[in-house]
Symmetry: C2
Subunit: 336 residues, 2 copies
């Protein structure tokens, strides 16, 4: 039984420790089913001999516009990417808008346009929608997108597939989105600010399709950043993951902003990257394919899986090894 | 081009004239596809020889708890019902929560429980979820539910199927939900208040399945009430609909509350009713089947379709005939 004094805190929404606690204590016991318990990016569902992926995400990012994107682009990319990292080809999206009174219709139009352009470019139709208006509040607009995709027959991505000696690949730099939102919030001029990496990852589906049977799990490191995502994988696999600090690409502007604000890029969200755990023998082929595409040219092998008790470790640039925890306490609320 | 002075008003969310204007001007031109243009309750999508229904709805009802339900029950029923009235068997739901800081976790638990109980009773799993936290505002909790269902082979519900001489059936009383929310907002004691009709309509799927090929269209008259829903059907069909005031069941407490507050039950939302346009020759069989079930025992034939220009008319109890418009201006914002 909860104490009546316990209330929702901003950290309940950061994707880290308190988000997991809220899920484990308040939600999962009431929705006891194998799909939710898996805590994956999308549920995989059987229908008529096919496997469908189904996912949902609400977006509450503040401010609504940031260098490299806005909440509309983010809402399209976020759900599309959750399907892609599940090994699914995105088929259809829904988009539901909650508007607060007084929000300018010109601003709404610009945001709806951003969302629609991502979908139009990729040929993924928004087939269902909803708009509601709800009083006044700090935030003037929320978007929920849900998506349905078709899972590739060779794709079966799960943390429990992960084995010792598997390798960990990352498709680009880390923390760009988090640092861009932070910059916008701090009022750093756009020309000096890092730009969000927010982009749809459908190109990864095409690159990786031939290798799906060698991929153990794929995730996009959004809320909570790379460290939180890999902690979740290590914990669910019951194996340790060791990543190498000197192999993690961090853009200079992200480093600068993270330094000023005192946050760690390892915990800053990306919105256009994927992290993959793959069979060691396939890793160099997959890496070459990724590096061959301009949008994932910065891909690298950042670490490996090893026997252990489900922890994430960082081999620092100075040669030390330190354990990394899941995000605990929000350095930066409302990032997506 | 919109003027910069135009802003979101509460009436943009009432399901009536301004909602349609917002859709037509801001959303539909950017998402130009046959599914959205149809403005139906769910998109019907082809996959592997099957037809899937996909729908989304956000819930912003205020207060969060009202006689007969709460936002959790409403969020489950709303999306389940949008699938059922599309002739689909609900398969899977997603549930995404936007929480505002400071909301009591005990209240959250009660609402999540309501949502989960509806789904558990019906065996419809919530397979995907999300929680976000977003600042502070008038409303402490929003829920989005999306749903996927399997459309019955005999079901093809569209306003363009409607023909002159078709009959209009309603499965129960009107306006109960709207009047219950209104009562809660006005502080009317629960024992004197009307109770929301909020309930899942899966039982209607079972009753109506043998008659699906005789059903032209089915809708649940939520935001905007029966008058708005039937106006939409008449307009899309290009035919007139005439309904008879003396055949519309209105609960005495709904009448009383509507009278005090000066609102018309024809424009108050229902959340557990369906309105059907059916072939005349099948109507009495369908009516008998509906009346045979305790949850739709109050079903009646409320009107008929006739040649015309796409308007809705009410034959009043006094024998006059007057045109009814779509809801314009919110008598009661944030009803669902």
């Amino acid at each position: 039984m909860k104490s009546e004094k316990e209330v929702v805190l901003s950290s309940h929404g950061d994707g880290g420790l308190l988000t997991h606690k809220l899920l484990d204590e308040t939600f999962l016991p009431l929705f006891d089913n194998p799909w939710l318990s898996e805590k994956s990016d999308a549920a995989v569902l059987e229908l008529a001999g096919q496997r469908l992926a189904f996912t949902t995400d609400s977006f509450v990012v503040s401010p609504l516009v940031f260098p490299g994107g806005d909440i509309g682009k983010l809402a399209a990319c976020g759900t599309i990417n959750d399907l892609v990292v599940s090994g699914a080809k995105p088929l259809w999206l829904s988009a539901a808008f909650i508007l607060q009174e007084g929000f300018a219709l010109t601003n709404l139009s610009a945001i709806v346009r951003s969302l629609s352009l991502v979908c139009r470019d990729l040929g993924i139709p928004v087939v269902a929608g909803d708009t509601k208006v709800a009083g006044r509040g700090e935030q003037s607009l929320f978007i929920n997108t849900s998506g349905v995709g078709l899972v590739h027959p060779d794709a079966s991505f799960k943390a429990t597939n992960v084995r010792s000696s598997d390798l960990v690949l990352l498709t680009g730099s880390i923390g760009d989105h988090g640092a861009a939102v932070l910059s916008a919030r701090l009022g750093i001029p756009t020309e000096e600010s890092p730009e969000s990496d927010c982009m749809p990852l459908c190109f990864l589906y095409d690159i990786l399709e031939p290798f799906f049977s060698s991929i153990k799990i794929m995730r996009d490191p959004t809320r909570g950043g790379l460290a939180t995502t890999l902690t979740e994988i290590a914990s669910a696999a019951g194996l340790d993951i060791l990543i190498h600090e000197d192999r993690l690409p961090v853009q200079p502007r992200v480093k600068a902003v993270a330094g000023i604000y005192g946050v760690d890029p390892l915990y800053l969200a990306s919105e256009g990257r994927a992290v993959l755990v793959v069979k060691a023998e396939a890793a160099t082929h997959i890496l070459a394919a990724l590096q061959n595409h301009p949008l994932s040219a910065q891909s690298s092998i950042i670490g490996q899986v090893q026997e252990g008790s489900g922890r994430l470790y960082l081999k620092t640039a100075l040669g030390g090894t330190r354990p990394l925890q899941m995000l605990a306490g929000t350095p930066l609320p409302r990032i997506c």
